[in-house]
């Protein structure tokens, strides 16, 4: 007689599942399967009473396997694993069947949906039989942190960690710290001179005893894993080997280059400048045309390279407010000038931003709207009779007219884009890029600072275009995460890893190259491949590549997967 004792729980999810799936029928249909001791349905399995039900049954009926048929495991797998642990059962002796996202939400025929739910639960039951208990593992954490990028995000994180008396190694590829803010004159919406906080911050970082700043430095290679990284850092002709436990990538952004956009004539027409070039003028305190004359009409064009199917689809998020900031700064310095804002959509979210918009709109600023889909503004040189240098032709959206906007100086609000070295750095530290070349975070909502490589965090505009306060917020969040792991002293690492049965491995090395985490190496002396289980993320690529069957993925063994498929097919096979 089998010693496997399975408990099956079918969740109604209120009406979410129950309205499309006959949950009672599902529980009945699987109740007589081999090894199933009890099979129940319940209104909300994830609720406290639902979990209590499982815990009570485990104890009363001596269950040693549990199947919950409910929502996606991404939502509640951890909840139920915890319940098993609370009942003294290993968390991995559990399997979830998703009959909500994969059944009730996507089907319209109750009879067919119920049939499918039964098949999925049978699959889960067949699979859980082969589950094995897995033990959680921990590794010690080196308390030093490597921060890549000495901009506002990198410096904020560095100070946060150093102030907790933990070592920081701060890498900056340029000669000096400060990042893009070195080129920004004042903040929005509050017009604080950036130098008021950047300079003291640079000073703090440079003189903090717990921060080693390496300028003109690059990370050449990275080895190791969370808690125990070794970096090869290039500074000048020297290569240093440095050890640390965590990494924050805060490598920043690159401004969009508008030269390829012919309609703006940037680089060809005089007096067409980028927002960064205007910043430079603001820093020197003089806004002048190429011929040194003061401009009387200043036009500011939004969304240059942003929100466009041709260049970057994303919104750079800071340009609208920066453009409003410029309107005010230009009017302050040239009180008699006329400012035109050629905008596509005014995005004024964030503290104080809508207020800035309202205040600016009351000034001598003309807001003209254009539609990116209806042709971009076109700049040409004005004729000698015109009272301006340049004319901007634009299909003004609100009036529906094609108009000409006169300007002496045109400011192109260039968006942010990913750094050209982002891809290479990403490969070195093991983080991926999303479609637009920014770094991808572990979870867009629940974990926006971590990455899929444990111990590597992202902050600032290398993850997506950000303003100063958002960059600092993310940097401090990353610092807090790291301080938490340092404080704990060790971290939990993935247990559903791949492992090599060395009695079978023949040393063909097919697996070595396919591992995206560099976790497999060939041990020439023993003529076998070996998995570094701390680096392994359990993605299974090596397992499928292994022709001998020597590699298997814990919790995703061939037996488990094939049994699950058989379970799903059971009804088909019976007929």
């Amino acid at each position: 007689m089998s010693n496997i004792r399975i408990g099956v729980y079918v969740c109604w999810c209120g009406t979410n599942i129950a309205k499309m799936v006959d949950v009672k029928q599902v529980a009945e249909a699987v109740g007589n399967m081999d090894d199933v001791v009890i099979s129940k349905d319940y209104k909300y399995m994830c609720s406290d009473p639902g979990q209590e039900l499982i815990i009570k049954d485990i104890k009363e009926h001596k269950l040693n396997r549990v199947v919950v048929s409910a929502c996606s495991p991404r939502i509640h797998e951890l909840t139920f694993r915890k319940a098993l642990e609370n009942a003294g059962l290993n968390a991995y002796l559990f399997q979830m069947a998703n009959i909500r996202e994969q059944v009730s939400w996507v089907h319209v025929n109750r009879k067919e949906a119920t049939k499918k739910a039964i098949a999925l639960v049978r699959g889960a039951i067949n699979r859980v039989r082969w589950h094995e208990p897995l033990e959680k593992r921990r590794v010690d954490v080196n308390p030093a942190t490597l921060i890549i990028g000495g901009g506002i995000a990198g410096m904020s994180a560095a100070l946060e960690i150093a102030r907790a008396d933990k070592q920081v190694i701060l890498l900056e590829k340029e000669k000096e710290l400060g990042g893009q803010l070195r080129f920004v004159n004042r903040t929005f919406p509050d017009f604080i001179p950036t130098s008021d906080f950047i300079e003291p911050m640079k000073d703090d970082v440079l003189h903090h005893p717990r921060i080693s700043v390496l300028t003109e430095a690059n990370l050449n290679e990275l080895h190791g894993y969370i808690g125990n990284f070794i970096g090869h850092i290039q500074t000048g002709a020297k290569e240093l080997k440095v050890e640390f436990g965590n990494i924050i990538v805060a490598s920043g952004l690159k401004p969009f280059n508008p030269a390829p956009m012919e309609n703006y004539g940037y680089g060809k027409l005089p007096n067409v400048i980028t927002s960064l070039e205007l910043e430079k003028m603001l820093q020197t305190g003089e806004i002048r045309q190429t011929n040194r004359k003061l401009p009387e009409k200043v036009a500011i064009i939004h969304c240059v390279g942003s929100r466009s199917s041709q260049y970057h689809e994303f919104c750079s998020s800071t340009c609208c407010m920066t453009a409003l900031k410029y309107s005010n700064q230009v009017l302050d310095m040239l009180p008699n000038s006329q400012v035109y804002q050629l905008y596509a959509d005014m995005r004024a979210m964030g503290k104080g931003c809508e207020e800035l918009y309202t205040a600016t709109s009351r000034k001598n600023v003309m807001f003209l709207m254009y539609d990116q889909e209806d042709g971009l503004p076109y700049i040409r040189k004005a004729g000698p009779k015109e009272d301006c240098n340049l004319l901007i032709e634009v299909n003004e959206k609100l009036s529906g007219e094609r108009i000409e906007v006169p300007a002496d100086l045109v400011v192109l609000m260039v968006g942010m884009e990913a750094h050209e070295q982002a891809k290479k750095l990403g490969q070195t530290v093991g983080i991926s890029l999303c479609g637009n070349e920014f770094y991808i975070e572990k979870h867009p909502k629940l974990d926006p600072v971590a990455t899929t490589t444990d111990g590597v965090y992202v902050s600032g505009s290398c993850q997506s275009p950000k303003n100063i306060s958002d960059s600092i917020t993310q940097a401090k969040a990353a610092a807090a995460r790291i301080l938490a792991t340092i404080n704990y002293g060790s971290v939990e690492v993935e247990v559903t890893t791949a492992h090599v049965n060395e009695d079978i491995c023949c040393g063909c090395q097919t697996c070595v190259r396919v591992c995206p985490y560099g976790a497999i190496s060939y041990i020439a002396d023993d003529r076998v491949s070996r998995v570094n289980e701390v680096l392994c993320k359990g993605c299974g690529t090596c397992t499928t590549s292994c022709p001998t069957g020597a590699i298997s993925s814990r919790h995703f063994t061939e037996k488990q997967i094939l049994s699950q498929i058989e379970g799903v097919m059971l009804e088909l096979m019976e007929n």
């Binding site: 049965n501 009695d503 079978i504 491995c505 023949c506 040393g507 063909c508 090395q509 097919t510 070595v512 190259r513 396919v514 060939y522 003529r527 690529t541 499928t544 590549s545 292994c546 022709p547 001998t548 069957g549 020597a550 298997s552 061939e558 094939l562």
Partner: protein
């Protein structure tokens, strides 16, 4: 009890759907046959001895100590004899690739019985059969009723019809391995657990193979052996030639590779890879050196006869087992 008085083992060798090569491999023991017959009486061996089925049927159950059953189960006669010999035998050995995994006859599972009959009795270029005669299981003549075994739609492995004690793989098995196994049984050495593969290694061919192997298995174009100038030293896969070696148990002395031909897979998979064809296809998938869908398709199209390459010996035992669409036609 002296050596001479020790009761002799009763040994049988039988063929199902087989080519005869396995029986010949038994004969290949050459002068060692004397050692064999000194220790064993051959009680049934159709290729060499005139012992009838009815003689076997007359034996008491468990009468035979060891039966080497070679060949797959293609028809009702194979099936009947498999069941009969199972009853009469203490240790039933699936001998050779066909009884182990289906072998070459197993490739018949890519066709239905109907397709096979159409091809063999009607469509081949040399067939003249205007009356469309096909074999019949029963046919009445003046003298009585003639019968032929039923030709099954499926080819099955021995263990798909009866319980098997051991598997001795190979096409055919290396005779030396047979002698080792036989001597182990004769001398009463401790036998491995029932269901084991014997006479082969735990590890796959690559473990023995002396060709140079690196992790640089990147394939831009699949080549057949005659399309490369083999340097005799580099792993076949690294030269673009499909070699089943990584997915195939060692034990043959990597003879094909030693003869500069890639491994075809007759020794079957290592213990943890029940479906060597799927395993090898999966592995090959990771070696294709392209990320462009159209190019990948072109590279894959370069594999001549993928079914016969990856499932040459193992189709009936594989997860896919047979071509599904043909079941209805049966």
């Amino acid at each position: 009890m002296s050596e001479q008085n020790k009761p002799k083992l009763k040994l049988a060798v039988y063929w199902g759907a087989a080519c005869g090569g396995c029986c010949v491999s038994v004969l290949d023991v050459h002068e060692k046959l004397f050692d064999v017959v000194a220790a064993a009486d051959l009680v049934f061996w159709p290729i060499a001895l005139d012992i009838k089925y009815k003689d076997v049927e007359a034996m008491p159950d468990g009468h035979i100590d060891v039966t080497l059953f070679n060949g797959s189960v293609r028809n009702s006669e194979n099936h009947h004899m498999a069941k009969l010999l199972r009853d009469k035998t203490k240790i039933l050995v699936a001998y050779g690739s066909c009884s182990h995994m289906g072998g070459i006859p197993g490739l018949g599972n890519f066709s239905s019985r109907k397709e096979i009959f159409n091809r063999v009795y009607h469509d081949t270029e040399t067939t003249v059969n205007p009356e469309r005669i096909e074999p019949k299981e029963k046919y009445s003549v003046a003298e009585g009723e003639l019968s032929l075994p039923e030709f099954y739609n499926d080819v099955r492995t021995l263990d798909q019809v009866v319980d098997v004690d051991y598997y001795l793989p190979g096409c055919p098995p290396q005779t030396e391995r047979l002698v080792e196994v036989f001597m182990a049984i004769v001398t009463g050495a401790e036998l491995p657990p029932t269901g084991s593969v014997i006479g082969a290694l735990e590890k796959s061919q690559c473990d023995e193979c002396e060709r140079k192997k690196t992790d640089n298995k990147l394939i831009k174009e699949f080549k057949r052996p005659w399309e490369i100038i083999d340097d005799g030293e580099t792993c076949f896969l690294e030269q673009g030639v499909i070699c089943m070696g990584p997915a195939t148990r060692g034990g043959c002395g990597y003879r094909c590779i030693n003869g500069n031909a890639p491994c075809k897979g007759c020794y079957g998979p290592p213990a943890d890879a029940p479906d060597p064809g799927a395993k090898m296809m999966s592995a090959i998938g990771t070696m294709i050196d392209s990320n462009d869908e159209a190019e990948i398709e072109k590279i894959v199209d370069g594999i001549v006869d993928p079914a016969g390459t990856f499932y040459r010996y193992s189709l009936p035992k594989a997860i896919i087992r047979r071509k599904l669409t043909t079941i209805k036609e049966n």
